[in-house]
């Protein structure tokens, strides 16, 4: 997570909101195979996306309630763990959200491209 000194009082809140929007997509994207909470956190962390545990577990529950994830307890390991994976409906949602994401990234990249005038400002 990028942590800077706050640029404006609402900066942290805005950053949080921006990140919150992608959490569902990030989570769904990693659950083609069944995973338990902590392993999912580590996997996302390894790819550079840090999610707080107190945020992820409730999120998994809510996605399950919405029918996007399936879950079951697995008691085979050293301790019982709850495993989550995409439901068929979740897979469809993931597909549609991904398409939306790629579209948004293209648009945003275009929007954020510095204009000629801004480049001039920066160099001066």
């Amino acid at each position: 997570m990028i942590k800077d000194t706050p640029i404006s009082p609402s900066h942290d809140k805005l950053m949080l909101e921006l990140r919150r929007g992608i959490l569902v997509l990030a989570t769904l994207s990693q659950l083609h195979e069944a995973k338990y909470g902590y392993s999912l956190i580590q996997e996302l962390d390894a790819q550079g996306l840090e999610i707080e545990q107190g945020t992820l577990y409730p999120l998994l529950r809510r996605l399950e309630e919405q029918g996007l994830l399936l879950s079951e307890w697995n008691v085979e390991g050293s301790r019982p763990r709850r495993y989550y994976r995409l439901s068929p409906a979740g897979a469809k949602v993931l597909q549609s959200l991904s398409a939306e994401w790629y579209g948004l990234v293209d648009i945003m990249n275009e929007l954020l491209k510095p204009t000629a005038m801004e480049k001039q400002d920066e160099s001066s």
């Binding site: 338990y36 707080e52 945020t55 577990y57 529950r61 809510r62 709850r82």
Partner: protein, 325 residues
């Protein structure tokens, strides 16, 4: 009991029973995973504290399991809530008014002091409003708890249904002309027949209570004249300005003063009516009816003036600025 167990218990007790055991089991499992991974299963007290802090307070974590439960009345119910509160307050206002008037007419008068009666009435009114508001909140909080949604997705919103923007600054010509005409007619009638205005009975020669009119004749004349003057200015200027707005408020307050004078005199009028030969309960009823009618008029007056000031200060000013820009 160790800290982790205490933490999980605090989260669990904030969750619905159906969910509790399962979430607690899961939290316990992920805590063990984290502790094994980070501290090889043997954390110090400080490390546990740091880990729990990272998770967030039990309230916060429990709340994120059930986001909708964080509202007493959530955004989806709020529009309906507002309508119901408005309707209840309106119904109560009308109901209490009617009840008070009937009570004032047929019940024994507790006090002759108008101010005291008004204060009592207003106090009771606010008490009733508060408890009614509380009841509505309780009902909606229960609906929120069960996640009832009133939103009717069938009806589509049509922009063409939007009402016109009313420009409160524009003076209605018809209204103003009528105001002047009625003012003049009333002024003439008042002064020509000032000795004939009062309660008229076939068995009494003179109209009763005419002295109330006589005593206030100068004030009545002044108020009507000021009203006519204001209407003439408005007709000439075509728009409301700050000075004319203030003038209207002053004239309204002046009328309120006159109404108050009348109400005071009426409240004291029982004896005069008895002396004139009226038999009880007629004098009591008449003085009370007159008194309460004036109170209703006074309240209506105040409400109207407040509404008018509110309109003058609210949206129209913005519309006006936009219009001028």
């Amino acid at each position: 009991m160790n800290l982790v167990d205490r933490y999980i218990y605090q989260v669990g007790r904030r969750l619905p029973k159906g969910q509790r055991a399962d979430v607690e089991a899961e939290l316990s499992s992920v805590f063990q995973d984290t502790i094994d991974d980070r501290y090889q299963g043997d954390p110090s007290q400080d490390e546990i504290v740091a880990l729990l802090k990272e998770f967030g307070s039990p309230e916060q974590v429990a709340a994120s399991y059930r986001p909708s439960a964080q509202y007493l009345v959530g955004p989806q119910l709020y529009p309906t809530f507002k309508i119901v509160v408005g309707a209840v307050i309106l119904a109560l206002t009308i109901g209490l008014f009617v009840a008070n008037v009937i009570g004032g007419l047929f019940g024994p008068a507790e006090t002759n002091d108008i101010l005291e009666q008004i204060l009592k009435g207003v106090g009771g009114y606010f008490q009733a409003i508060l408890s009614a508001f509380g009841s509505v909140v309780v009902v909606f909080a229960i609906l929120q708890r069960f996640e009832v949604d009133f939103e009717d997705e069938e009806t589509e919103w049509d922009p063409l249904d939007l009402p016109d923007v009313k420009d409160y600054d524009v003076v209605g010509r018809g209204e103003t002309i009528a105001g002047i005409a009625f003012g003049v007619v009333f002024l003439i009638l008042l002064n020509v027949f000032s000795d004939r205005i009062g309660l008229v009975f076939t068995f009494v020669q003179e109209p009763l209570l005419n002295e109330i009119v006589q005593d206030n004749l100068i004030w009545l004349n002044l108020a009507i004249l000021l009203g006519i003057g204001l209407n003439v200015i408005l007709l000439w200027q075509g728009r409301w300005h700050l000075v004319t707005r203030l003038a209207k408020v002053v004239i309204d307050l002046f009328w309120l003063f006159i109404i108050y004078q009348f109400a005071l005199a009426l409240a004291d009028s029982k004896e005069i009516l008895v002396e004139a030969g009226l038999v009880e309960p007629l004098p009591t009823m008449l003085s009370q009816i007159g008194y309460w009618i004036l109170i209703i008029v006074a309240v209506a007056f105040v409400v109207n003036t407040i509404k008018w000031i509110y309109q003058a200060l609210g949206n129209p000013t913005k519309t006006n600025k936009l219009g001028k820009a």
